[in-house]
Symmetry: none
DNA sequence: CATGAATGAGAGTTCATTCAT
DNA sequence: GATGAATGAACTCTCATTCAT
């Protein structure tokens, strides 16, 4: 006897299709939001503008996102996912051999730090978005749990570096210091670069990053 | 024949007094704006709020500032002046003797970098303002010339460090690199600190800055 | 020749079943609407909220009701039915004997008036609904015929009192007057009570109603 | 020495004129609001509609009223003032002689009750407004103090009746009862009349009120 | 110089209703 | 029959800016 409706039990092809469609439209709106954001900046991102770009009326957006802050959150989440993808790919295929080669590890450290840097260098709007999360502009609407989740994804993007530092024999405390310092340095350089103020000093961003990583390499434990 | 109005040609005592009065009121409004800004943050700064704090009505502000962006610009200018004052004081009284003592110079370098850092650490609203100029938040109202002037004042605040590096025997190119790197690093740490994200890494901002300056000291030319 | 569809001509068992089902669902929605209304008040009753409570989506409601006003109308109808049930029960079992006992009749009068009053006292949301029909809040959606039908049911709820007054020997004209006056009085007290303004006078609603009915009893024809 | 600005100390003719102008405009907006309200009912009263009727843009209203609820409050206040004026006039010139004539006092009681009733009978929109205060529609935005003030003014309008009842020798408790009952009765009749439901009973509102007051007169203490 | 009324655009959000699927 | 996307109009309220007085 089948008293329960099939529709509620089975993930029918139809449901799947509908779900996929809805997801696609959600993404479409997100893209529109991103486009508006990239074109006019954060201040200009209004529901009406997003809707217009997406080919909707303002009210329609609310079928997909409960609020404007919801859109921001989705945008941020998406951005951090892409950051992590990018960083992951940079160290993909690296040997996780028992016999660790210091030189290789240093290269991995360098690669993953560079991947992090390059992601934001090449996607300046993600940097803007990151600042929205990261602040200056406080994410008032971001719930505590979401905020934590986003923080975690940001830290995740630094994880390969953490692994490398560990392999290289840094102490726990040293790892924390170097990791934070590297993160801060990259952020600082990105900010300088993004705002064009780096020209003020006549230096290139890539050059600065490499300089920093060179110095970091020199600080590696010698007893290996 | 005196077709031209006297008022426009002569800097009469009366004109002077009026000018002084106007300047004072301008400053008064600026102080009000700063107060509102410090109390509630950038988003809450509206002409009405500034006016209220200053004891005026919104319309009155326009006698002294052409637009809201104008006020921001003045606020930035003021902020950068105070930054420079702060940095100047930190190295004040330092010997500009011919006979340079390396140790003293290193100390000066450190002091002036710390002064820069501490100014923003202790005046987070100035940091916010700085980001307004500095960040993706486009300074639409900032004319090119003003923008350059502000840039210059920012660089000025790094000047004592530049002097010290020169004294210590760095090459022109090295100076540029280290100066920019230091600037970027400080900015990055400030950002991390200001947004509270530094907790994510369990590190203190002061600790990071000192760590960086320690490393910098180690890189100083050895042949002195 | 049977050009007309069977479905429209024949009341087939199938049609009956379908009709019953539809009625049940209609009632289900009505219950949901009532629940929302009782929980949050008239202002909060939106189609979405009703639908949610009923386990539907907003659009589905329109299969059963043509508009929101339609739902209100049904709610009112239902409310008046319950009012009449309540009043009927209060006088149920009363002797409809030829030999009328004045005391019993007075008691019946009192009982039915109290039943009317108590129904709304104990079901304040029905009072709200009643005001929606009854008050300045224009029942735009109420068609003339429906409005008349509702009026009739309201009068019906006063009928037992009318009967009693007749039994007690009031003239037609007196009956009309006393009936209307009692109705008005009850409504006034209910309104005062419901809005809490009765506290303004430091009196209880029950006390007032009883006082009124006491006075009414004193006015009864003495020559019986 | 007059250091203080005259403008701030003196109520100059100019200030007076401006104040008067502002008051007039405030009243103008209030009238517009009332007009919209009378034309289309409470639900249709939107800031835009009020503004349109007043010849303003929506935002302009906010120079005179802080919120929509503010307008309601002003409307209600005004309405209650007019009610009190009306009631006051009805008993104006009445002897406040020591030697109280019972007949005269009864007449005063009747007059003031009628004045109350007639005010709302003749100004049905004030009745609607009163219900807004009085409820059904809850005055969510009305601050507690304002709510109390409005309540007080409502009670004030019943005060002449209270005085009369006292003069006639009713006890404190009886006065409370009769006053509340009269109030409730009037409200009930007004409601019936206003909504046209009184036709349902084939009675006139005036007739009902007079009937009630007749009965009240019969209840007056006999020992006078 | 300062006021304060006024504008006009725009913000986010909600809602009853419609309709293709 | 039911869904859920979509509309379009409506809502209150805020803001920078202007301008007659």
């Amino acid at each position: 006897m089948y008293n329960l409706s099939m529709e509620q039990l089975v993930i029918s092809p139809r449901n799947l299709r509908q779900q996929a469609l809805a997801d696609a439209k959600r993404q479409h709106i997100l893209n529109a939001a991103k486009a508006v954001f990239m074109e006019f900046g954060l201040d200009a991102v209004s529901m009406r503008e997003i809707a217009k770009k997406a080919g909707y009326t303002a009210g329609a957006i609310y079928s997909y996102f409960a609020s404007k802050e919801d859109i921001y959150a989705a945008l941020l989440t998406d951005s951090l996912e892409r950051l992590n993808d990018c960083v992951s790919q940079s160290t993909q295929g690296s040997s996780i051999d028992q016999k660790v080669d210091a030189k290789k590890t240093i290269l991995e450290l360098r690669k993953s730090a560079l991947a992090f840097y390059q992601f934001y260098r090449d996607n300046p709007r993600d940097l803007d978005l990151g600042f929205y999360l990261f602040q200056g502009l406080k994410p008032r609407g971001l719930s505590g749990t979401l905020d934590q989740a986003l923080n975690k994804r940001l830290r995740d993007a630094m994880h390969p570096q953490e692994i490398a530092l560990k392999k290289l024999g840094f102490s726990k405390k040293e790892i924390d210091t170097e990791l934070t310092a590297t993160f801060a340095h990259i952020v600082g350089v990105l900010l300088l670069n993004h705002t064009g103020r780096i020209r003020m000093f006549g230096k290139g961003a890539d050059e600065l990053i490499n300089h920093y990583l060179d110095q970091l390499a020199l600080r590696l434990p010698k007893n290996k």
